[in-house]
Point group: C2
Chain length 698, copies 2
Amino acid sequence: MQNICNMPGRIISEAEGYEILKDAGINVPKFGFAKSEDEAVRAAGYTGYPIVIKISSPDISHKSDVGGVVTGIPDQESLIREYNSLLSRVSEKMPDAQVTGVLIAEQVSPGTELFAGGTIDPSFGRVLSFGTGGTLVELWKDISFRLFPLTPEKISGMIDETRASSVIGGFRGAPPLDREALLDMLGKLGDLFEKRDDIVSFDINPLILTESGVVAVDARFIIDDDVPEPKVEMPEKFCTSEAFLSPKSIAVAGASATPGKIGYFVFQNLLEFEGRLYPVNPKRSEILGVKAYDSVSELPEVPDWLVICVPAKAVPAVLEDAGKSGVRFAVIISAGFRESGEEGRLLEEEILNIARKYDLCFAGPNCLGIMIPGLRLNATFGPKLPQPGPVAFLSQSGAIISAITDSGLVADTGVSAVISLGNQADLKFIDYMRAMERDPQTKAVVLYIEELKNGRKFVESVKKIIKRLPVVAIKAGRSKKGKIAARSHTGSLAGSWEIYHEAFRESGIIPAMSLTEAFETGGLLASEGWPKGNRAVVVSSAGGFAVLSADYAEDYGICLIDLDDDMKEELDSFMPSGWSMKNPIDMIGDAGVERYAKTLDMLIRYQDRWDIAYVAAAPVTSIDPVRLAKETVVFSRQTDKMVVGCLIGGEGMAPGVKVLNDNHIPNFSELESAFRATGLALRAAEEIMSFENAGETK
Amino acid sequence: MQNICNMPGRIISEAEGYEILKDAGINVPKFGFAKSEDEAVRAAGYTGYPIVIKISSPDISHKSDVGGVVTGIPDQESLIREYNSLLSRVSEKMPDAQVTGVLIAEQVSPGTELFAGGTIDPSFGRVLSFGTGGTLVELWKDISFRLFPLTPEKISGMIDETRASSVIGGFRGAPPLDREALLDMLGKLGDLFEKRDDIVSFDINPLILTESGVVAVDARFIIDDDVPEPKVEMPEKFCTSEAFLSPKSIAVAGASATPGKIGYFVFQNLLEFEGRLYPVNPKRSEILGVKAYDSVSELPEVPDWLVICVPAKAVPAVLEDAGKSGVRFAVIISAGFRESGEEGRLLEEEILNIARKYDLCFAGPNCLGIMIPGLRLNATFGPKLPQPGPVAFLSQSGAIISAITDSGLVADTGVSAVISLGNQADLKFIDYMRAMERDPQTKAVVLYIEELKNGRKFVESVKKIIKRLPVVAIKAGRSKKGKIAARSHTGSLAGSWEIYHEAFRESGIIPAMSLTEAFETGGLLASEGWPKGNRAVVVSSAGGFAVLSADYAEDYGICLIDLDDDMKEELDSFMPSGWSMKNPIDMIGDAGVERYAKTLDMLIRYQDRWDIAYVAAAPVTSIDPVRLAKETVVFSRQTDKMVVGCLIGGEGMAPGVKVLNDNHIPNFSELESAFRATGLALRAAEEIMSFENAGETK
């Protein structure tokens, strides 16, 4: 699973690997090591027949591929023959490989072949992997990951997540395998990997699991003797100023009256700001009609925010002045730092040191800026302010902020804050998210991530806020080419998508594949909160929507409940013959709003039986969309369960959709999106519940 | 894989199954059948040791689950012991099972375990399946399907599609297995299944494949002695009237002046029609200002279309009168036929017979009607006419037509025709599609399918038109609950989604999961035609879009080409330092339209090196969207390769998007959708190319 070409360190021999495992209390076959026929025979005397022999060479990672493994050798005569033919096969296929000897090992009885591995992710650190093993491991791709620190619950969960778990539990009447022994071995492997700083990665394939035990049969360790310095943990730098998300005064260093300049766009956008605004520019006495000041220290008050648009080289002096003056927060829009090369990197270190000195924290540098629509605060050099609303957007791409704030995606729901992260020299995703947690306006957060710094800390921090504040994230740079594109774009080294995905799962973050999906799901959660369970009902007068709903519910893991007899009877009392008599509740095409209202009324009385209700309709002559929307609002107010509008259409439906929007009820104009968003929310909610349970058992 | 509870027929014994296979020339183990210890010993004398014994009972489908299989019996003593303990185990676990005896079979040497099966799909008839076998078959779900009639190419393709094919080809240095023997066996199984009308389904699991041969080890056949009558092939009933999609005159039987009545809505909608319009209603002399006639036969001309909105019971008389008068095409909107029960079914048969008698064909009954926006023709009782355009929509759900015609999905691209299929008593999907093929307005078709009648014929017919006319289809009722919902909604029995999916693949139809996806992909193909290959370039000034593009390209199987040195040099001559130097071509955030224009100009000169170009931009200050759109139009006019606009935003981008729309260049406001739609088109295009190749080799 490891691309060894790009890894530091060296592969150690299998015999050394066995020794490491033995020392850690992990079961390995009896083995010996031979550099000659005689030594081979002697080693076999210790292990006993039948035996396996394997070539040992630092240059050969896939031994089977070069005929470097022979199994089932029954006796000494065969051993001598096979020993020699193995050596000649290998030297023929890989004449340049350095052969250190041959491993002689007890032949382990057959069992279920599993696999375990460890790797160090650049963002998240140590990761354990587990799955179906054997020679076809890369074919089946049945694998799960867990970030360190591990717990017995996490290890157990990683087994359950694989298809191998069915076999381990005793598939189709077969006896169950020794899960306890497997748990124990994975735990010991985790401890070993955590303790031994020099292990860069390892693969054990196969682990052979039987009804009564587990053996690590084939082990490959990569050791780096130059253990990298442990990363210096960044001091927890969180903008604690109460004014952070509600500034009353803003100064703009580098404000300009020259159209086309960044300092001009920023200042012009800020003219709308509801608080006090100070341009700082030593060359001008006023800018766009506002009195200008020579420096931050000369301002009539200490501004809550300082927005910096001066050229990179001038930033340290401005920041020093601001720090001395008592400024606590700055948005550094200026580019020309780490992203531009070595000189910029040093400049970035310099400004970080200045900030530390004065206990000042800052966004950026190299960012588009920050928006808080509720305060008419647009400290960016580009986009227009979107409508105020409950969703915060944190993005590592400025252009994506421009696209999103302009788009229909946030037009209905509205936005509480938009933050362009830039180089994240000081403030990082999690710092802003902590601030959002305290912000009464923000009910959900959407992240566009190219790279997380110190992902492990990120995960731990998110876990603490996720219940109050749902988070949806797009991780860009998932693919090989995408990762390269992200690197050239942000100068960062991103970890693998699988590990990010696991980090999101552990945190309770919802992984979205597109901006549309992210904002749809964020908007749903901002208005409805986490779903309380996965029991769903669908109400529709459109037969086609009923059919599609059932498909999408299955696709996205949402359980359409069976209607109980009492519910059916009530419905049947006012439905025309031919209604579906089941969930999805298809009320027939001639249904008017009255029939919807009666059905919703029934559902309120039985609201202990469901957790999510979809109200779906097409723009047909029998339905007045505004009246239907109003009934949906009444319905939603009577329950704290999740209510999802699916008034599907365009102009004809728009007046109804507006009523839902105004009443903070989410509406989807594509049925699949409604089910996808709720399904995504549900998967994360289940994860968060399991934390609760795990917490209780401790 | 078979849910035997719902199947007609009976399971035959494994010994009978072996006989059937042997007769078909398929390799099976040596075997015998025993009803006593003595017979078992005698049978083993014939097969030779080691042997396998298996319980034989029509009541036990999963023998291993009840301990009904013992393998590796080495000698007579063990046989006697195991024979008796097998019988007692089974009678303990399933005391009520009728045991007919014990199969004694040669133990087959180990090899790769595969699986093959056959089933009869209600829509598509006989289907062969193949995949990874063994006890974990249901865990791995590594399976492919092919519809009959089979060809050697199809069988070969179904092997290639599975992950098992990697093992068969010799995975990771292992010797390749006997693919020829496997092909031969699958061919023989296909022949057997085609010839034997009484075989309802079969499963062979495992097939054991080695380097030199294949054996069918475990066989289960379900036989139905009451062979169902072969379905009467519907005579090919295609509306050949030239007037079909360009009627000049329309009569409306049941036209009404009473608001709220269907005949009122339909007639009112038709008032816009550009041709001649005749209300037929014996009770009125005029309707909504138009002179009315007592009957069709009294009209001053034979109308090209007759739209029927009279109550179901009155339809036969109207149709008879129309047939006598020489009407060739009718749209029967009236409900109350097959969907309403037995009486309705008989009525439906009656109108079908009348139509046959007069060589008249009809749409419906029980449908919303038909729209042809280009003629201002709205023969429906609901929605408003959408804009004319190149995409035709054929739907089995009327409500979905209402939603779509109202929605933004067709607002930009426009629609050539909308057809509500209703009960499909006469005209079916393929009939309309053939008409669309001849329609110069229609460039792509979107289908909403709940059930296909005679799917095999559908597949054969679609293959003939798909190159000229791309088709995108949503199959609703994919899930178990969805299928049930569809059944109650349309009274039809739908086949399984896997089989539909395979039928779509074979036909070249693009499978869409949502209406949005379907119309986005249909719109793309209507303007750009089939892609010519999968080599793509992305041009963007937004770093985030470059990163996401690379991800989506990988997700959807689109190959982002490496830029050759000459291309890079040209770009480098005008790009600022820091541009990506690779594809996706990230031109840096400050790029204006000029830089886009130069890059597109370079791409035109190297247009032999790519097949798809994505032009992506966010609404940023440096870009004038109208100018960018105009440059994209110029670019697109110079190539017949696929050009995809990704001007992403809302109001800010709208003027640019309008320019693209007006010039028939597709635009996507979500990057993922652009890649998904092109990826879907590409998969189907590759399928269509492979038909061409297959054709050439014949």
